[in-house]
């Protein structure tokens, strides 16, 4: 087990009681404003001493109120990206970034410094002080500072919240590489389902200080029960697939349970198992195999369940060769197509509807 | 009635308080005293302080006020005298013969002689004059430490910080841990007198009477009890 968290703490008017176990990789903390995400992260970092609980990282116990063991924050070696920045105002950006390295003694690694500075696009800011930075610039420096502390555990509290899409697109792959190439577990708070879907190995959903759902990201994110927490537009399924071949036109062909998929190219050798997240609302259903569409992907399956939501929509669960797919339709379409459990049908999906971030190499754990 | 306000040198406090009490018992008239350094009191009188009577530890400041016309003409009198003594640390220090033969440097060794400020505070000025007169000043000048007033000098001796000191007889008398080991003869220094006068601005009709009382036999007894000499 990589990250084991059990906490009980009571603020006046708020009561936290959570416990979850997460394997290596990124554990996403998901939940509405005030659900207790930051409180959990603070307890893991040692900034909050919870009334009861225990946290261990890769078997290394950070604290245990029962045995009275308590590692002070500076001995926990966490890299914490705070929700509210907390850059050192009296130090230049460069010195903020290098702050953690005084204590790790890893001055040699200056290539990593350049890499991270480059990735975050903060090279021109190095000599400035935080007071003269824009909101997003501050956030990027805070991310860099945490990454450069050579942490054994990364805590990121909405690290990308005020960044533009282009910048996010530059930072996310870095976090993915971090997840895939190092052993550093990450506890990641975010309100963005695409971000979470892309990064998270494990998702823990908090509701009013309690765990509402916890488990592998694919499972939690494609669980129709999570829809209230994720938002209906973010509902979707995660299905496994195997890389077959890379085509010259920038597409990669995959073998999935219900058929072949053509998606934007990813970097993975043929034969590699990957996971694809398919948004329910990107899927079109047809009772007959459609011809002459621009959409390249057609998977054959059978209706498993039809679930009415509020409003004009229904959520249709398909069984495509054993994997579950979700499709969101209007009720009218569902009736017109006579979609009832057991009915055979085809799922149509545009290649471009699957963002690069929706395809990833799942963790072994 | 308005009390008579006496501005008196701080070293007179005990004696003057007793004198005021006696006057009150005698006449039923109230009087109050403000004590501070003579210089401060003189300057305050220059600035119109509500003093009826000024008793200075030092003729110089009385002279200044007199020149400025701040004293009621004809009221100035020399009220008290005092003496300076050599004191030593300890209750039973050996007496010495304070005279030209005194080997003060040997007594002090590498330690200090406590005095009041030798250029500013009367006791220091008198003490220095006496030492000069006895031909001792040059030998001990480097060993002298100067306190802001007699009591502070005495405290240095009392605490053993300085083995010897030169202070007023009136101060030495009551102190623990200090013994008088010799007295400087009156001729070795200018006469130590405490002049007193009614101020020019005084509107208190009892002021003159109070000054007269201070010169009188009842007050004299009190002052003598506190170690002062009284000038007739």
């Amino acid at each position: 087990m990589s990250l084991s968290v059990a906490l009980r703490h009571r603020f006046p008017g708020f009561d936290l009681d959570v416990a979850f176990e997460a394997p290596a990789g990124v554990t996403a903390l998901f939940g509405r404003s005030g659900a207790g995400k930051t409180t959990v992260v603070n307890a893991v970092a040692g900034l909050l001493r919870p009334q009861a609980g225990r946290v261990a990282v890769n078997g290394w116990e950070l604290f245990d109120t029962e045995s009275g063991h308590w590692l002070p924050p500076h001995r926990r070696r966490v890299g914490y990206v705070f929700q509210d920045g907390r850059l050192f105002p009296h130090l230049s950006v460069a010195r903020n970034l290098r702050y953690g390295r005084w204590f790790t003694g890893r001055r040699a690694e200056d290539d990593r410094f350049d890499d991270i500075v480059d990735m975050l696009g903060i090279e021109p800011l190095l000599a400035r002080r935080p007071g003269a930075l824009s909101g997003g610039e501050k956030q990027r420096v805070a991310i860099g500072r945490a990454l450069l502390a050579a942490p054994r555990l990364l805590l990121m509290d909405e690290p990308l919240a005020s960044l533009d899409e282009a910048r996010k697109a530059e930072i996310l792959p870095y976090l993915e590489r971090l997840r895939d190439r190092t052993e550093v577990p990450v506890l990641y708070v975010s309100h963005s389902v695409p971000e979470v879907a892309r990064l998270a190995t494990t998702v823990v959903t908090l509701r009013d200080g309690r765990v509402a759902a916890a488990g592998p990201a694919a499972k939690v994110l494609s669980d129709p029960d999570s829809i209230p927490d994720l938002g209906v537009r973010e509902a979707g399924a995660i299905i496994p697939a195997t890389v077959v071949v890379h085509h010259a036109d920038g597409l990669t062909e995959f073998e999935a349970a219900g058929g072949r998929l053509l998606l934007p190219r990813i970097e993975a050798e043929p034969g590699r198992r990957i996971a694809v997240r398919i948004h329910a609302q990107d899927v079109i259903l047809s009772r007959t195999r459609p011809e002459g569409l621009s959409a390249l992907n057609i998977l054959a399956g059978r209706v498993a369940a039809v679930r009415r939501g509020e409003g004009p929509g229904v959520m249709v669960q398909l069984d495509c060769g054993g994997e579950r797919l979700l499709a969101r339709l209007t009720r009218r379409s569902a009736e017109a197509l006579e979609l009832a459990p057991g009915a055979p049908c085809y799922a149509i999906l545009k290649s471009v509807a699957v963002a690069r971030g929706d395809v990833w190499t799942p963790m072994s754990g | 009635a308005e009390p008579v306000t006496v501005f008196a040198a701080a070293s007179l406090r005990n004696a003057m308080d007793a004198a005021i009490a006696a006057w009150r018992a005698d006449t039923g008239q109230p009087a109050i005293a403000a004590y501070a350094g003579s210089s401060a009191l003189a300057r305050q009188i220059q600035q119109g302080a509500p003093a009826d009577i000024f008793v200075s530890a030092n003729p110089d400041w009385m002279d200044v006020l007199e020149q400025d016309g701040l004293l009621r003409a004809g009221t100035r009198v020399d009220l008290l005298t005092n003496a300076i003594v050599l004191v030593a640390h300890g209750r039973q220090a050996e007496s010495v013969d304070v005279g030209p033969s005194l080997d003060l440097p040997a007594l002090l060794g590498d330690r200090r002689l406590a005095m009041a400020l030798v250029e500013a505070v009367p006791a220091g000025i008198y003490g220095r004059a006496a030492l000069e007169n006895l031909g001792l000043w040059d030998k001990v000048e480097a060993r002298v430490v100067q306190a802001p007033n007699v009591r502070a000098a005495l405290a240095l001796v009392a605490t053993g910080e300085a083995p010897y000191g030169i202070v007023y007889r009136t101060d030495a008398a009551a102190s623990d841990n200090v013994s008088v080991v010799g007295t400087f003869a009156a001729g070795t220094h200018p006469p130590i007198v405490y002049p007193a006068a009614v101020t020019a601005e005084s509107g208190n009709r009892h002021a003159a009477a109070f000054l007269a009382f201070l010169k009188g036999p009842a007050a004299r007894a009190i002052f003598e009890r506190h170690g002062f000499g009284v000038i007739r």
Partner: protein, 231 residues
């Protein structure tokens, strides 16, 4: 009561009165001065700064002497105030309060100024955008934020007023019941043989009073700090 003697009790009562009014009366001026020094950009700012610090730099006796020359009955300001406003400092307890206020002023200003300099201007800007003019911003944002510093400054002045003697005795003398504070009484006790026990008793009383003020100020400051930290 006999333990101290009636004169001494008078001195105690007077010291409290003097310290209280010295503190209270100098507060507004100190806050204004601290703001000017921390925020103002005007010619002569450094001169004001020097003037504020003078009572600290000069021996207290000198300060008292200058006060005597200025606010005394014959002094330029003193005679003007006496004539036109019937305000007299010379040889009154008000003069003792003035001396204490002047001596404590640099301490109070500095304490407040440090607090002012730590205020986040972003909050004042936020108040401004919400419609508060400078004066309201000050009253509703700056002042609550600097309150711990103001309280600390007030305490320093109060304590200093309890201990101040050099300037006070030089300016207003030590007239029993009128200008004789604890500190000047202690001084005069120490000038005569056998006065030490009485002096010591007075010192103890003044320490106890200041301790009370200290505890009150700590409690107030703690509450204010907690507010400022938003908890």
């Amino acid at each position: 009561m006999d333990w101290l003697g009636p004169d001494a009790w008078q001195a105690v009562a007077l010291s409290i009165r003097v310290a209280f009014w010295a503190t209270l009366a100098s507060l507004p001026l100190a806050v204004a001065t601290a703001l000017l020094l921390a925020r103002g950009r005007f010619p002569g700012r450094q001169i004001l700064n020097v003037i504020v610090h003078l009572p600290l730099v000069m021996p207290p006796v000198v300060t008292g002497y200058l006060l005597l020359l200025t606010f005394g009955r014959r002094g330029a300001v003193g005679s003007f105030l006496a004539e036109h406003f019937d305000i007299v400092f010379a040889f009154r307890w008000t003069g003792a309060a003035l001396a204490a206020a002047v001596m404590g002023f640099p301490l109070m200003v500095r304490a407040i100024r440090i607090a002012v300099e730590a205020v986040d201007p972003g909050l004042e800007q936020a108040a401004g955008t919400l419609g508060a003019n400078r004066c309201w911003v000050f009253l509703t944002v700056t002042l609550p934020m600097i309150l711990p510093g103001v309280i600390a400054g007030a305490l320093l002045t109060f304590a200093k007023a309890m201990g101040e003697f050099g300037a006070t005795i030089t300016f207003v003398s030590s007239i029993p019941g009128e200008t004789q504070t604890i500190a000047s009484a202690v001084y005069t006790f120490l000038q005569v043989p056998g006065g030490e026990p009485a002096a010591l008793r007075l010192v103890v009383v003044s320490i106890v009073i200041s301790m009370g003020a200290l505890l009150v100020s700590e409690t107030l400051a703690q509450r204010a700090t907690r507010r400022v930290k938003g908890r």
